[in-house]
Symmetry: C2
Subunit: 332 residues, 2 copies
Amino acid sequence: MSRDLKAELMVKIQDDLGRIENSLGKNLNANLDLARKIAGHLLFSNGKRLRPLLMINSAKMCGYHERGESARSLIDFSIVFEYLHAATLLHDDVIDEADMRRGAKAAHKVWPVPEVILTGDFLLARSLSITAETQNLEIVSTIARITEEMSQGEIDQLNQKGRLDLSEEDYLSIIRRKTAVLIEGACKCGALLANALKEKTDALLNYGHNLGMAFQMADDLLDYTADAKALGKNLGADLREGKLTLPLIKTLQRADKKDKAIIKNVFENPEFTKKEFDELVLMIHKYKGVSHTQKKAMEHVVNAKTFLEIFEPSEQKDLLTMLADYSVTRKV
Amino acid sequence: MSRDLKAELMVKIQDDLGRIENSLGKNLNANLDLARKIAGHLLFSNGKRLRPLLMINSAKMCGYHERGESARSLIDFSIVFEYLHAATLLHDDVIDEADMRRGAKAAHKVWPVPEVILTGDFLLARSLSITAETQNLEIVSTIARITEEMSQGEIDQLNQKGRLDLSEEDYLSIIRRKTAVLIEGACKCGALLANALKEKTDALLNYGHNLGMAFQMADDLLDYTADAKALGKNLGADLREGKLTLPLIKTLQRADKKDKAIIKNVFENPEFTKKEFDELVLMIHKYKGVSHTQKKAMEHVVNAKTFLEIFEPSEQKDLLTMLADYSVTRKV
């Protein structure tokens, strides 16, 4: 099922994907050899390009047509969302001392930390320049707000690292700012570029919000349930970094005293063994932390698709529907 | 002379300074306790507020009047230039492993590096939000370009660390992006906010460019000639970080083989002694590296003031003239 969905998706997006890859490379200043290498290392290692694809298809669904005179094409603006994402990942991986990312070594394991920090800064700055070229004040304000919210979310997440008493509400607030804000912003900016009516713009924002929440929940689940090789990074990375996510939050709520103590012990010892981790995963299944997370993610997917209902049938609407489904069925 | 100039300047700017301090604090989100502390540590430790002052006085000289309905006052927008500056300093000090800044410990010597990196990101993001609120596309584009140029300059500077063959041209290109771009941007944005004619906007940009170049040259000179206690950081910090600046570049051009070897030895050994450093300073005086840098800085001050000639006499014009003079006579 998931494999079929993925194959069908790939056929639909391959033209746009090619154009996105091309624009991602073109917009890195050729004078900055090192930054280009570092950004390219991350940008071209199996990124899903979810955010640019959402922006492009949102715009087209709202009737955007390329105009010859437009200073920047839709594709060129779409990469803002990939650059902003990459900028965050570069700084995140430095801060979390992460080893792996997308099946490759994290950038700061290949290049010195100063270079990686500055490359993150550069990608953020480059995004702003591309955004300014749209000459659209609503888009500029949206990107500014996204950047600020993401930054606040990062600080929040850092402050809450190592907290075992994180509530489901705290978690939702973190993933909203960490992930959903950028994804909903991509969808909203697509609508704005197409001069869509407020009703449609809001619908796409809400679609994106729900997709983003579902996507991050599924991502957090993969850290406990995926095949490590396919995932391209070690399992249990969140746990090792002291980040509590929904599967474990729910498990902690339901666990008895003895099991809670076992979880606490693993959580507080980042050097936990594979055996200890496997035991924890069994516990997350036993207390239905996995199924609870799947259920919450599915609710968001259903909500996301509901917000597409006001749009006429179109190729893009089909694609956005499939992307919502894909966000929770993906295995990597 | 310099003391008198400073005293006279302080009288002229004290009202604006008070308002700037107030706005700097107000615009740090109260929910972000740690970021507020970190940003505040740097922001409120003897900053000169040169950039906000330049923006405010440029706007007023071009006839800007506060309007009751304006979403953000001139003062509130002016702090963008202090936040952008502070964001750069926070990341810079992490990258350079600097110990001191403005007479206090560098932020990353008081708080963990991850927190300091994210606070830098937050200040940048906050600047963009304040900028977007001006709803002025030219200002947005100017800030975006500044951010990108500064980021490219940081990467360039990092790439050129440790290079003893840096030319005067390389140096000028680095300080332009590191310092002048933000200062000229502050002056230009003041003109833009006041809807000044292109001629005046360009004149202020050129004034700011020359002031910025002079300011950085004077700053680089202080690293060799200042009183360490008054400067608030150790002398020779640039040298220790492998950063070649104009006084030493000129000295290297003129030094004989024996003296060049001595300089090379100190440059390649960041653990140099006070005695070795003092010897190097004598050499910089002997080969007129100091007077060459002073001369170049003075040329920029003269240029800066020339660009003010098209403006009618005003209190602000006097102040901008004094700031140009102050940029090269300051002792700290």
